[in-house]
Symmetry: C2
Subunit: 197 residues, 2 copies
DNA sequence: CAAATTCTGCATCGATCGATGCAAAAAGGA
DNA sequence: TCCTTTTTGCATCGATCGATGCAGAATTTG
């Protein structure tokens, strides 16, 4: 009954996500986006309302994919809990290595957005907090299991240890954006594991 | 022989530093700055060349003050090495608590700038790396002393442990900007100490 | 084929950005 | 007091920002 769209919405979101990821929200202009997307601005505004809504869609896509990937690692029944945390760190290190360009990592869109927008956009801050809660809950659950079966020797509150692991991951992202190499990032993760086992 | 300036350069740098700290580099317009400073743009451009040079001056001021403060804690001869690291974390937590507004911390201008600019401004990235080197060197030295006198039980390379402590501090800043409360930040620091002693 | 509906391409809007030109104001030195 | 030098206040520059208006193209339905 009407003219169909000339683009695939998922592909647009994927490209928009990578563009925001690489340059940040404010520094990505709608013109930059449309160049990367191969679309006119009016098409983007027609489909996604405005820049901020498009960003929210892209951020949701990133968080859904990333958190699902991390939860899958944390809930792998084939490994003991401590090994799952190790595997999580290994995944962080691998993605940071893959996304390195010009000596600087892209970091993580979640951490980047927390730094850029959480303090002045309550709605986006809430999206980020909900995502963080999911990851913290999964981490705390696995750590609790590890504490009961002895694989994780720390007697600290599991929720506190989950916050610690989450903070170290964020610290690794920051170090990557600051130019740290793979060995430096790996040393951080290895030391963090010492606090758990 | 000529008209004197109506402002104190140090006060201007202090105010500019706090404005950039609160809102970031790109999101602070020259008009925002001049409103905060009580000066006209032409005065600011006359004294500091342009926005980026003013930012570099403000960033240098921040790094000099912050790093000097942290090095003083790390080099306090009255405490054993492990206690100095604990005191460093305590200082981070205190400043984050002091700089909290609307539930969100200001974080740290160094970390904020690393996330916003390090990947696309090589000169500023170099300034940040030099500052990080100073802190890492001091941390590694103190950790080495602690390893030899037994206060720090970890057998890991002192430089690697220094990177770990630095990353945890960055992680605490990120958590603070994400809305974490004092207790959550303290739990992160406490767990990090477990990896050293 | 014609009517209805949506999408696309181009031009452009007002707002804001960093930065500058210029004349008046303010000081010191003669 | 007058000359020289610098700062200051005001107006404004060109570029870019996010966003929109509108006519024509494209497609489904009748």
């Amino acid at each position: 009954m009407a003219r169909p769209r000339s683009f695939d919405e998922n592909q647009v979101l994927e490209t928009a996500m990578r563009t925001f990821w690489a340059h940040g929200y404010e520094s990505t202009s709608t013109r930059d986006l449309c160049d990367a997307l191969g679309l006119d601005r009016s098409s983007v505004y027609n489909a996604f309302t405005n820049k901020r809504e498009l960003f929210k869609r892209a951020l949701t896509r990133y968080m859904d994919a990333t958190t699902a990937d991390q939860l899958q690692i944390l809930e792998d029944p084939g490994r003991p809990p401590a090994d799952r945390i190790r595997a999580l760190f290994a995944r962080i290190l691998r993605t940071e290595a893959e996304n390195r360009r010009d000596g600087y990592g892209l970091g993580c869109l979640t951490v980047n957005t927390t730094m850029e927008l959480a303090g002045r956009d309550p709605e986006i801050a809430l999206m980020l907090e909900r995502d963080a809660e999911r990851r913290l809950a999964a981490l705390a659950a696995i750590i609790g299991v590890g504490q009961r079966d002895g694989g994780i020797g720390s007697a600290r509150d599991a929720a506190a240890l989950a916050r610690f692991v989450n903070a170290v991951i964020a610290g690794i992202r920051v170090a990557a954006q600051g130019g740290a190499d793979d060995a430096a990032l790996e040393a951080i993760a290895a030391a963090a594991m010492d606090a758990l086992v």
